[in-house]
């Protein structure tokens, strides 16, 4: 019986494999052409001096050495690293907290969950340029809504986007406002916690805060871990919002000079695409290391 069926099953398997390749081909082609090849090219160009319009000249490790150690040629490289690190440190927790609070509150209401989900998600799908324009107005030192509100409370608001020390917290606030993705994923996580746990704890006399601290948060740990990892990766690559808010000037005393903005300016404005490629390789390695460290150090599962 086996002997009779083997050829046809082998045929079928081969046909399945072919179909599988055919279906994944577009995605694989996309990854190859638009991700792997450019990444490989960036790695190659990181060892050259290249302005995009003349032939690249081999430079060995010079770009890396100068970027990391020559503060005359790249006076703001380490500043861009500090700015980006501080941004990640502030914006990731801020957006996790607002995302969680939004999800928790939505989960509590009985009616109109879809409406609140939509409203809290809107900032994420709003065009970056529009977001920047809105916040520029909100933060305006003379006529901005935020400072007008603080004025009513008798507090003199800072010049949000004009004071170097305030710029990154101001950007983190925008990130917190745009936490719709974290909200959606937290909401899915909340729905995944069996109601029976809450019912059982209620029988034992637990109040809402105890339920939050002992059931909800621990069981959301895998969700939180995922959001921390993806949030840090995204924060280290922040570009759009700073570019639209500040342009190439990067804000007062370049306090909004994110790593990728710095890289972009060197590649496209200063004609140093070789050095910009080296910076992108450094960023890639950094993200890899940070992510690996998170996998080792941050608790991923709830261990009773």
């Amino acid at each position: 019986m086996n002997g009779v069926h083997r050829p046809s099953s082998w045929h079928r398997r081969r046909r399945d494999a072919l179909a599988g390749f055919a279906f994944t081909a577009p995605a694989m082609l996309h990854t190859l052409v638009f991700m792997l090849v450019p990444a490989g090219a960036a790695l190659y160009f990181s060892f050259t001096e290249w302005d995009m319009i003349s032939p690249a000249r081999w430079a060995g490790l010079r770009n890396y050495r100068e970027i990391l150690f020559d503060s005359d040629l790249y006076p703001d490289f380490w500043k861009s690293v500090r700015v980006t690190a501080l941004y990640a440190l502030l914006s990731v927790p801020a957006s996790l907290v607002t995302g969680f609070v939004q999800a928790y509150l939505i989960d509590l209401v009985r009616r109109g969950q879809a409406f609140y989900r939509l409203v809290f998600y809107l900032p994420v799908i709003t065009a970056e340029a529009a977001v920047a324009a809105i916040w520029k107005w909100l933060y305006d030192p003379q006529f901005g809504l935020i400072n007008a509100g603080l004025d009513v409370l008798g507090v003199a608001g800072p010049d949000w986007l004009g004071t170097p020390g305030v710029v990154i917290p101001a950007l983190a606030l925008i990130a917190a406002w745009q936490s719709g993705t974290a909200m959606l994923i937290f909401l899915a996580g909340l729905k995944g916690i069996p109601r029976t746990y809450y019912e059982a704890s209620e029988v034992d006399g637990a109040n809402r805060w105890q339920q939050l601290g002992r059931i909800t948060l621990p069981l959301l740990r895998p969700t939180t871990f995922y959001l921390v990892v993806t949030g840090v990766i995204a924060a280290l690559q922040v570009f759009g919002i700073v570019y639209v808010l500040f342009g190439g000037n990067a804000g007062p005393e370049r306090s909004g000079l994110s790593y990728v903005l710095h890289l972009y300016l060197f590649g496209y404005r200063n004609g140093a695409m070789g050095a910009a490629s080296a910076m992108s390789v450094l960023l890639f390695v950094t993200i890899l290391l940070v992510t690996a460290a998170q996998f080792r150090l941050v608790p991923r599962q709830y261990e009773g």
């Binding site: 995009m52 319009i53 040629l73 006076p75 003379q142 010049d159 004009g162 005393e253 200063n270 004609g271």
Partner: protein, 404 residues
């Protein structure tokens, strides 16, 4: 399966057909096409430039100008990518400080002798096209800055640096909620304005023939000290509001002619005047603008030069710059341009006579944006002494240029 193959083949045929149609295919041998890239103007300006191109085609029946509009912010990125990929345009705009980089990379065609008469053009604008003694482009339009003042707050515009400081202090003293001047910041724009002040104090930025950095010399220190002094009567908390001059929060600003139509349209209640930049020792101003270049791989360089000569000649240069809101580079065109009858614009035309060309080293943008801007930031807002801040910038520039 066979049906699938047929479907794929048919689709591929349609796609390739569409692609070749989009590329326009090959033009008849007699017709010469000039693909010209320039900054995307407003729809109205775009219509006028197309009409200008049509009039050129009428005088040169064998040439077709194909205009490609690219948003200004993306222009340099797109251009260098296209040229790097070997599929660039025949001719186009090129920002003044990029001339050296493109010429040295072998991407530009040299201007054939006899294409233009050099003495017809403003010297500052023409010189931005000269790299090591050779001419690589034709200046098409130019711009500069002047002093804008609010007539309600400033009755007579200050003519000298000391009058400027006094006037700014008076405005802020009489009303602490107002700033005297919207003081330039340490950014690319501020660093672009800076040479005008340095030149007014008798200095320059670079001496390319002797390979010496001059922007840390006393004139530059004095220029930076002036801006810092102005900041005392012009708090950033006031001027960091959007468009502080336009809204009447700052009594004066240094800016270019593009503000004139913008203010008249969007802030019609603002009663403003334009005056020459206040001077220390000599009258001076800075320069910006765009040159027309023909790229090395152009298919029809002769036709491209004819088009650029048309845009820069005495009859059409004024029309062209009127459309784009800049100034003619051709002196005869400037005489004829309607901007001469508008007093606000007249100031800029006069200022162009004293405009200082930017250094032509290919690294200038990096020096301007990364090093000079930083020195201005530190020296004006950061409280470092102008001498120290500029000395650092000069040391960095020296290293980058290899002028040890």
């Amino acid at each position: 399966m066979r049906a699938l193959v047929r479907w794929v083949a048919a689709t591929a045929a349609v796609v390739s057909l569409a692609a070749s149609a989009a590329c326009g295919g090959d033009s008849p041998a007699t017709e010469k096409v000039v693909e010209f890239w320039y900054y995307q103007p407003t729809p109205d300006q775009s219509k006028q430039i197309k009409q200008l191109a049509k009039r050129f085609e009428e005088t040169e029946p064998t040439i077709t100008v194909r205009l490609t509009e690219i948003p200004k912010d993306d222009y340099n990125t797109k251009l260098s990518s296209a040229l790097g990929g070997g599929r660039g345009p025949d001719a186009g705009y090129l920002d003044q400080p990029l001339m050296a980089r493109y010429a040295n990379a072998g991407q530009l065609a040299e201007v054939p002798a006899g294409t233009i008469t050099e003495s017809d053009f403003y010297d500052g604008a023409l010189r931005t096209n000269k790299i090591s003694g050779k001419l690589w482009g034709i200046p098409l339009q130019q711009t500069t800055v002047a002093l804008f003042y609010n007539r309600k707050l400033v009755s007579t515009p200050p003519a000298t640096w000391s009058e400027l400081v006094a006037e700014s202090a008076r405005v802020h003293r009489e009303n602490p909620n107002l700033a005297g001047v919207n003081v330039p910041k340490g950014d690319g724009f501020g660093a672009w304005l800076f040479p005008a002040f340095v030149a007014s104090a008798g200095g320059t930025m670079l001496d390319e023939s002797s390979r010496r950095i001059a922007f840390a010399d006393p004139p530059a220190q004095e220029a930076l000290a002036l801006w810092r002094k102005l900041l005392e009567s012009s708090p950033r908390q006031i001027t960091n509001s959007e468009n502080p001059f336009h809204k009447g929060l700052a009594a004066m600003m240094f800016s270019g002619p593009w503000e004139v139509p913008a203010i008249r349209q969007q802030f019609p209640q603002l009663d403003f005047g334009v005056a020459p930049l206040p001077r220390k020792d000599v009258a001076a101003s800075n320069i910006g603008g765009d040159n027309g270049v023909v790229f090395g791989k152009a298919r029809n360089p002769d036709a491209a030069w004819k088009w650029l000569r048309f845009l820069s000649d005495a009859t059409h240069n004024a029309e062209f710059s009127n459309i784009t809101g800049n100034f003619p580079t051709n002196r005869k065109a400037a005489q004829a341009a309607k901007i001469n009858t508008d007093p606000a614009f007249k100031v800029f035309v006069d200022q162009l006579e004293t405009a200082q060309a930017r250094p032509t080293v290919p690294e200038w943008i990096q020096i301007n944006d990364e090093y000079l801007a930083k020195a201005i930031e530190e020296g004006v807002d950061g409280g470092r002494s102008p001498a120290d801040a500029l000395a650092d910038a000069a040391a960095r520039a020296r290293k980058l240029l290899g002028w040890q």
